[in-house]
């Protein structure tokens, strides 16, 4: 078991390093870091001094090592566009995105699993087919259109919910949350739904497919041949086996959600990391882009580790027990 955990950790570190390499390459080779940090009037001497200070004249591996150690200390450089430390920007905006991502994943999981199970059990029911058809539309509707549609309906026409921003936020240390105020909660509803709808659709279709697959297996056939009631078969046998692939994929999705938040944050003018990233792309603000990349990779890696652990806890076959002789 220890071997399993160590292996997962080792892989995690490898991925982070690989992404760091990519981020660093971007940093170093795209555009000119020096030119971006000084004005146009800077003299050649000033530029050289800056280059020396930034360590740009050292060999590549040393620069990379410095880069990695800097990041480990929380140093992400300075934003080209805003002139502020990137680490500050990250800290300010991360809570907005994390809160949004977390809540929408929760929403997607709960409803996705429930609807998926329902659709699998009542295969030929009208409601199930309706849900599947709607899910297909969900996959075809770009997230930003859903967002716009919601804003038009709920903010402009019905005036129930605010059309942009986070509302009033409460600060807890360096974190800020919108869950503790009414306007904060109202502001959360549409973005969470918008971001979560696509995931929910995916999860629902996955759960349904996996459950149908499970219901076709030999052990289900054998359970039926033993007279086990259909209800127990659906929930005790099929569902439990479905959960493994679902948890894996849902877990991987969470990392993706952070990235999908880019669109939602743009539509709702949500002050999070995604909106920050888009601005960075538009202005070729490499340090911010690189830092965002590392952040997403970090979330991915952590979630992957968590999924591995859950896998381990749920599937007895992974616990490496020996097969008895004969």
């Amino acid at each position: 078991m220890i071997a399993y955990i160590l292996r997962s950790l080792a892989q995690a570190v490898m991925v982070m390093l690989a992404v760091a390499l990519l981020a660093f390459s971007m940093f170093r080779f795209v555009g000119d870091p020096v030119a971006n940090m000084v004005g146009q009037e800077a003299s050649v001497k000033e530029r050289e001094e800056l280059a020396e200070r930034l360590g740009l004249n050292k060999p590549f591996p040393i620069q990379f090592a410095n880069y990695v150690t800097d990041m480990a200390r929380g140093e992400f450089g300075m934003s080209y566009r805003q002139g502020r430390p990137v680490a500050d920007l990250l800290r300010e905006r991360a809570p907005a995105t994390i809160e949004l991502a977390f809540l929408s994943s929760l929403f997607a999981l709960v409803f996705g699993i429930a609807l998926g199970v329902y659709a699998a059990i009542n295969r030929r029911g009208i409601l199930a087919n309706l849900a599947m058809s709607i899910s297909l539309i969900g996959v075809s509707l770009p997230t930003f259109l859903i967002g716009i549609g919601m804003i038009y309906l709920f903010a402009v026409e019905l005036r129930w919910l605010p059309s942009f921003g986070r509302g009033d936020v409460v600060r807890l240390g360096w974190w800020s949350t919108g869950l503790l105020t009414e306007s904060g909660r109202k502001s959360l509803i549409m973005p969470v739904l918008t971001l979560g709808l696509f995931q929910m659709t995916l999860i629902m279709r996955l759960v349904r497919a996996e459950m149908l697959e499970a219901l076709r297996t030999d052990y289900v056939k054998f359970a039926r041949a033993r007279g086990i009631p259909e209800r127990a078969i659906s929930f005790r046998h099929a569902l439990r086996n479905t959960m493994i692939p679902v948890v894996t994929i849902a877990g991987l999705q969470f990392g993706a959600v952070i990235a999908f938040a880019i669109v939602t944050e743009t539509v709702f003018q949500w002050p999070g990391l995604g909106a920050l990233f888009i601005q960075a792309v538009q202005y070729v603000d490499i340090p911010v882009m690189a830092a965002y990349l590392m952040f997403v990779a970090f979330v991915f890696v952590v979630v992957n580790l968590a999924v591995d652990l859950i896998y381990f806890a749920v599937d007895p076959r992974l616990r490496g027990t020996t097969v008895a002789a004969k």
Binding site: E230, T321, A324
Partner: protein
């Protein structure tokens, strides 16, 4: 025979496909007496497995029992509502499938699956059910059952798993056990053990057995009577010794001739030319006639029925008076 445990009468199973209706089993009838082992033998696609599945009521829609009856101890079970049929499964009819690895749910311990079956069909408390599970494991020959009962399926070897499967099938003391290729997925060395175990358990519990297999050796060892199936119909049925030593139907003769034997003349192995027809293209008359070395006048027009004395029956015009068709040209 004394009143049979299982009685199948003119059973017909169909599968509607978009290219027409497929008849997987066409009008078969047989009985199984109490404590008797009936072997059902035939090539792949002959309809043996579907017969077993039909008896226990697990034909998946759109497949269905089109006509005929299945009677368990004299009561019809093929037309029961779903819930009533579910109660019969496991309790009165048990079934064992081919692959023990996939028959067990890998996420649950063996004991949990046993207890689940026991509590579904009896009113035992969990503690009593666990005791019963332990005794079942001892019966099927699992060593150290107190520890093994809490193991997962992947911790058992193939032969051990099939023993667990047998324990599960017999847990509620059924009157009939259907074994669908129970040894095919096992090592040869283990096959004999499992078959002997099956036979012993069933005679101890007083259960009749329908043993479905394509392996004549297993039948010879274990069965009392054997039914030979071909293209969804029964070609011949009778006591094992008779059918093996003196087969009547040309198909059975071909099957026996294709089994190598240590004793006996060392002629070439007989091979039946051609192959079994697909269910979408079953020949008219006797389904075997295109491959039959002794086909004659009536064989391509009229379908022979199973006829004969009570224990031995054969469906072949060689043994019964055949109808004459005045228009048939030779």
């Amino acid at each position: 025979m004394t009143s049979p445990v299982l009685s199948v009468r003119n059973l017909k199973v169909e599968f509607p496909t978009r290219r027409g209706v497929l008849t997987a089993i066409n009008d078969i009838s047989f009985d199984i007496g109490p404590g008797e082992v009936l072997g059902v033998v035939g090539e792949s696609g002959a309809g043996k497995s579907i017969t077993g599945t039909a008896v226990i009521g697990l034909i998946e829609p759109p497949g269905r029992i089109a006509s005929g009856e299945v009677l368990l101890k004299g009561e019809r079970i093929d037309n029961l509502p779903a819930e009533a049929m579910r109660k019969i499964r496991g309790k009165r009819i048990g079934m064992v499938f081919q692959d023990p690895l996939t028959s067990l749910n890998p996420l649950y311990r063996v004991g949990e699956q046993l207890i689940e079956t026991i509590t579904t069909h009896t009113n035992l408390s969990s503690a009593d059910a666990r005791k019963k599970a332990l005794s079942l494991l001892i019966e099927v020959g699992i060593p150290a059952p107190e520890t093994r009962i809490d193991n997962y399926p992947h911790q058992f070897s193939g032969g051990m798993r099939q023993r667990v499967v047998l324990a599960l099938a017999l847990a509620a003391e059924p009157e009939l056990v259907i074994a669908d290729e129970p040894t095919t997925a096992l090592d040869v060395s283990v096959q004999a053990q499992i078959i002997t175990l099956l036979k012993r358990l069933c005679s101890q519990h007083g259960a009749a057995v329908m043993l479905i297999t394509h392996d004549m050796g297993v039948i010879a060892e274990t069965a009392d009577r054997v039914a030979v199936m071909y293209a969804g119909r029964i070609a011949e049925i009778g006591p094992v010794r008779d059918v093996i030593k003196a087969p009547l139907h040309p198909y059975t003769k071909g099957l026996m001739g294709s089994i190598p034997s240590i004793t006996g003349e060392s002629d070439r192995l007989v091979q039946i030319p051609g192959s079994m027809p697909r269910l979408t293209a079953i020949p008219t008359g006797c389904a075997f006639h295109p491959r039959c070395p002794r086909a004659f006048v009536p064989c391509n027009t009229f379908r022979p029925e199973l006829q004969g004395e009570q224990r031995s029956q054969v469906a072949c015009w060689l043994y019964h008076p055949y109808p004459v068709n005045a228009e048939a040209a030779v």
